[in-house]
Symmetry: D3
């Protein structure tokens, strides 16, 4: 199995609901350093998993939808705590939609799995990963 990973980051404000979050129930913020990993059984004819230029560009596009925002005011996240885990899933789902729409090229159609990791500090991170199937709807 081959993997490629590209890294970018976003900076957002948000607050959490629930006593478990303690002081993080107040409006605060985070820098998330994002690692996007794409896995595939075989390399394509160019010798790559995907074009990392296109993967970086697609990731940048998703980040631009979230970056420099107060996530508490985003209708898409209404009723959810935008935890690191939750945001890893959001970026995963949005990247999958872009892949299905062809953003990484035709050969990205047979990617085996994808993983999105968000580093929230030097001592904590969260990730979401799932196997991909050409049969699955995005």
């Amino acid at each position: 199995m081959y993997t490629v990973c590209v890294r970018d980051h976003l900076m957002i404000a948000h607050s959490f609901e629930g006593a478990v979050f303690g002081p993080a129930q107040k409006l605060h913020g985070a820098t998330y350093v994002v690692d996007l990993e794409l896995r595939r059984l075989e390399l394509d004819q160019d010798g790559v998993v995907v074009d990392i230029g296109r993967a970086s560009e697609a990731l940048r596009g998703i980040i631009s939808e979230l970056n420099y925002r107060n996530l508490d005011e985003e209708p898409a996240f209404s009723g959810n705590n935008t935890t690191t885990e939750f945001l890893a899933r959001v970026i995963f789902d949005r990247m999958l939609a872009r892949i299905r729409a062809g953003a990484l090229g035709v050969s990205a159609g047979d990617l085996a799995s994808m993983r999105v990791t968000l580093h929230e500090s030097h001592i904590a991170w969260a990730a979401f990963e799932k196997e991909l199937s050409t049969a699955d709807p995005p």
Copy 2:
């Protein structure tokens, strides 16, 4: 699959038995930077894998049992080389016992797997990971 990770560290002395260890057969020591990863199929109602505050606290508790010690004198490790691999397993087992005892809350009962990684330098690390089952004894 979701993963969360928290990081801490410990500083210990020890020596190894066996010609394979060369100069490390002498009493020396190490800083281990510890990454604790917890995995779960779904997020709980707060939108997290586990409360990372409680996970950090539990990890800190285990580290305090080992930190600033000469592991050669710990009865629990008698007859074993306290290698990086071995210590990753020790911390794994002790964390599992704490999870089973409720240290991470009720919802941690259905964690899918756990991984403990010990970084011993900028060029070497070791890890132990295992799937968890509610049926398995700790």
Copy 3:
């Protein structure tokens, strides 16, 4: 010259005023990984620059005054952009006040200089540093 450094982090929300900030004029946030460096010409009788336990505790105290906040609502910063550079200076000044008040012990009175660095992402950081003098008011 000897230096010691301890690291911690904080997570805040804020916005900036001024066209130069582009999209960062909107309410967003950041994780700042903070490095506190203390410098001294000679070691004290224990063989250290300062007790890093006390230095970490003092830094943690300052961070707790800022952490999990919306800095736009902090009266202390009214009329200022709480940029990374600015916050490095804030933490520097507050640490100096604590040092002058004895938080790091008597021997910290002859520290030669201090530097506070805030890493805002994997690709950007800012710092403030200044020589210290026993004659200078904090």
Copy 4:
């Protein structure tokens, strides 16, 4: 499952064929920081996955075959783009051959899997991993 990892690096020149590579079609180069991970179900009688001294030495041997070279002139890679993914596989295959030849000792015969990761910058890496079987030819 236990894992150990050792790190080294190599510095090479190469060029790529294919419009997808854009400016990287020109002769350029890279530093690859290489992580070699070895996995095994149980520790050996010394309490390790493998002797990391021998693992480091074997990795160093493979790197010396590639280091400080223009990979465009290596007959072994003729007709291939020596992408990060491709080189991860090359190092994997050469390490497997060394393991089969006994370079890591007899107990390395039952390694469960191996992973080779090449970090090409602070924002991109690629890896190749595969389960190992004593029945498989190298």
Copy 5:
């Protein structure tokens, strides 16, 4: 004194002349992770040392003049070994010229000093730094 730092990277091929370089006399290559540090005594009216967006853009412009090249064929470096130290100086000089030409804005005219660091691997880096003077020619 305030400092801001932005990071980027470049990938080049080159060879060295001189027995001291051993195997690095052959054509090989490197990834250089570049840190650009800018220092100033006071913040400008926006509360920053310089606009890091513009600083990143200027650095990116310089990198694009060098990236994906065989430096042995660059007339500008003829007769020089393009060592990490040498390239740190090249990027320093080109950034200074851009600053003098106004690329970072008017307030960058009173920057106190600049430092360029090139990380060539996880175990080696080189830097060039110099105080800046409004009187000095670039």
Copy 6:
């Protein structure tokens, strides 16, 4: 001013005397990741500050005198707490002696300054640095 830096590491056991050290008064240990920085006003005729191969080799020689030891039993450190700061100075002094003895070549005679940094964990490090003079005894 030019700087080059090379990195290596050592693993030792030790204990500290003094109530300030708390639990670190017990025998424990540490991994120290060591950064050796050498500074010079001009590059030599090869275009380098020093041959980093020779610098790495000299650092490795000093580390081999300390590595895999219980520093409490080293006569050279009798009566001293072998703190991170203290050990940074020890490595500095031993490197200076090697430089004076010609280990880095003749041109290292006019190095402007040297800095030794020891990282003891992901959240703490210490360093010693001093300007060098050809007139000073080592």
